[in-house]
Symmetry: C2
Subunit: 405 residues, 2 copies
């Protein structure tokens, strides 16, 4: 009998009615003769409410206690989902992360799964139970409770699917799949029936909110197919996989965008070795993620260094950068928090000339100034003003013919 | 260095300010050089809210899932209390029941502690940590989470005190100690500075709400002194202990009362063997606790059988009793849910004539009709009409000179 692992996000289990709906969907699968393991996130705003509660008591809580606190959210939703299945006459059991055998390292608030011992899950499946697993959590070898950080429940689901040798990992969420662009901006956007792991990774890291890149990476490493589909409507969704014919298709698959971009420019930097390290090492130590970095061609050994961070990190980044800039004799330090980025993504682009040129031309025709450009093998990204993002996404979606399905 | 185990109830940690207050009290003890282990209940209404949530999904939830759900309440309060201590600069760690090494049997919703392995607690104390333990919960040998039922967190605290060889178990609550009677009824009631385990047990089972009898029993078995005192004011409280001079004191120590009493009378019962079993076995199977049972002297082999249950159980009890009464040829089956009981309690009463007579006379002078009487070695209880309970408690408190301190 095949094992299927499903995951339902927080908005899918936000209240009693929604939990009953999820129970009904799981029961349908089970009734078809499949062994079902369902991973759940915390109900709706539970995690935010727990964070609020903690912040009233301690502005800077210990990560160990924070993880133990937050882990309760997924335990609540998993038990309620099991109760909903019982109420409909199905055999089900709720397991916390530790009960499900999920071991992690001790990096509280962003723990990595180090192993899964699925003995208990298999025993319960063999007893005919639907197994509900609290997502987002695990246990260290010292029996401390950890949480997995952003994208945690998706990661739990993919890791369990791998460990249980499931046929597929199904991620049910509040969107119907992966689209060629954000349908709120481009109403003509098409749902992709399938997408490659790498393309999906680029979509995720370029701002598409459907799935966190971490779970996609795990799927890619173990070649576990991942279905992304709606919790509410019975429609096909998108399958993320490592299929065969992707090298050949050679076209833009999707447009991703991200509004959460702030830009910092250090102007008039003396161009000598060690400058970049002097700037970026202290930021790394403070946990600030730097995204795009561009250094202009040096004239007279003076250069401009520009990079982007998320808006929430801008203030802290400037506090770190300003004294360093002063110390190394830079001319000035400028920031702009109203930036965004737009990306075109597709396997094979780098072997085919013209994609970049077409992208730049399209933006130019829209009167959009490109501030920074970065590329990967399967992605071209332009940093532009935030207020131009929507126009850019619409224009690129059209010019790369993604509206034609 | 001495270990002290403290317990704080749900009303003592009901919000952020109250949690800070508890943290301050714990920190005072720690600063005096004691090793502190603090057991906490769930915040205020948390448990009721979780029960409500579950009841919306399943009217009759599985006890296993219910326990896993409810156990989250104490984890939340214990982590927040640890965070409050951190915020004041103290070293503290929150442990769930399983992390604290508390093993139980698998009787979900009313599990019994089968053992405590306090290795982790001792390690954390040795590291200089204040250890906060989530009360009311434990883990079976199959790693399922259990809750201990009523009085659970008190039981956790006393069991930990025994296991850690603490000097004392301190129960902090919203009353200042054990009183000679309920101060809401008798304003002259005096706080007892000490009371024996057995007397406290009789007080608890006779309706005094201060502590559940289960934790007192555990204290008695292991001779662990228990202090009951206020979470809010710095006053001495009451010490429950097995002291030496109790045999000798030979007086009424307190008046307990209970308003939650319903009476069932089966009239005209044929007086033959097996009748009582026929009535009480099916009730036991349904989990209905029968308190007082009285059978009147038989005339012509026809007798009346009267017993009491808690009001919440009356409906179910009548559904069980009526067909049985019919089957055994009883005349009729009557019930009255507006009953109460009042008890006088004190070691040595049974060896001294006159206590019972004085009690009955006092009630008679108040015009109170005694419906049933039961006694133990250190207690005399009368079942009377609920609306007479307050008068009875006041009169007995005065006649046994408890107002004189």
């Amino acid at each position: 009998m095949a094992i299927v692992v499903q995951k339902y996000g927080g908005s899918s289990v936000a209240d009693a009615d929604k939990i009953r709906n999820v129970a009904r969907r799981i029961a349908e699968k089970y009734t078809k003769g499949e062994k079902v393991v369902a991973v759940v996130s915390a109900m709706g705003d539970t995690t935010d409410n727990l964070l609020d509660l903690a912040s009233k008591i301690n502005a800077n809580p210990e990560p160990r206690e924070m993880d133990l606190l937050l882990s309760t959210g997924e335990i609540v939703s998993s038990t309620l989902l099991a109760m909903a299945l019982h109420a409909s006459g199905f055999k089900a059991i709720a397991l916390s992360g530790p009960q499900a055998g999920i071991s992690t390292d001790a990096s509280f608030s962003r723990a990595r799964i180090t192993g899964i011992q699925p003995r208990r899950i298999i025993k319960e499946l063999d007893r005919g139970n639907i197994v509900i697993v609290a997502g987002f959590q695990g246990m260290t070898k010292d029996k401390d409770i950890t949480t997995l950080g952003r994208g945690g429940s998706d990661t739990t689901a993919v890791a369990l699917a791998v460990s249980l040798k499931a046929n597929i990992c199904e991620i049910y969420t509040d969107v119907e799949g992966v689209y060629t662009a954000d349908p709120r901006i481009v109403p003509e956007a098409n749902k992709l029936s399938e997408i490659g792991y790498e393309e999906m990774l680029e979509m995720a890291t370029s701002g598409a909110k459907v799935m966190h890149h971490r779970a996609v990476e795990l799927g890619q490493v173990f070649n576990m197919p991942i279905l992304v589909a709606s919790s509410y409507v019975e429609k096909p969704g998108t399958i993320i996989h490592g299929g065969d014919n992707m090298e050949a298709r050679n076209k833009v698959r999707g447009i991703a965008h991200d509004m959460d971009v702030a830009k910092i420019t250090i102007a008039g930097v003396p161009d000598r070795p060690g400058i970049a390290a002097a700037i970026f090492l202290p930021m790394a130590r403070e946990g600030i993620s730097v995204d795009t970095i561009v250094q202009n061609a040096s004239a007279n050994n003076i250069t401009d260094l520009t990079f982007t961070v998320s808006r929430g990190d801008l203030k802290k980044a400037m506090e770190i950068v300003k004294p360093v800039a002063h110390e190394i004799g830079a001319k000035e330090c400028l920031s702009n928090s109203a930036m965004g980025k737009v990306s075109i993504i597709g396997i094979g682009m780098q072997n085919t000339p013209g994609y970049a040129a077409k992208m730049f031309q399209t933006l130019s025709e829209q009167g959009i100034n490109i501030e920074l450009i970065t590329t990967s093998e399967i992605r071209i990204t332009c940093i532009i003003s935030e207020d131009k993002i929507k126009d850019a996404v619409k224009a690129l979606h059209k010019v790369f013919e993604l509206d034609k399905g």
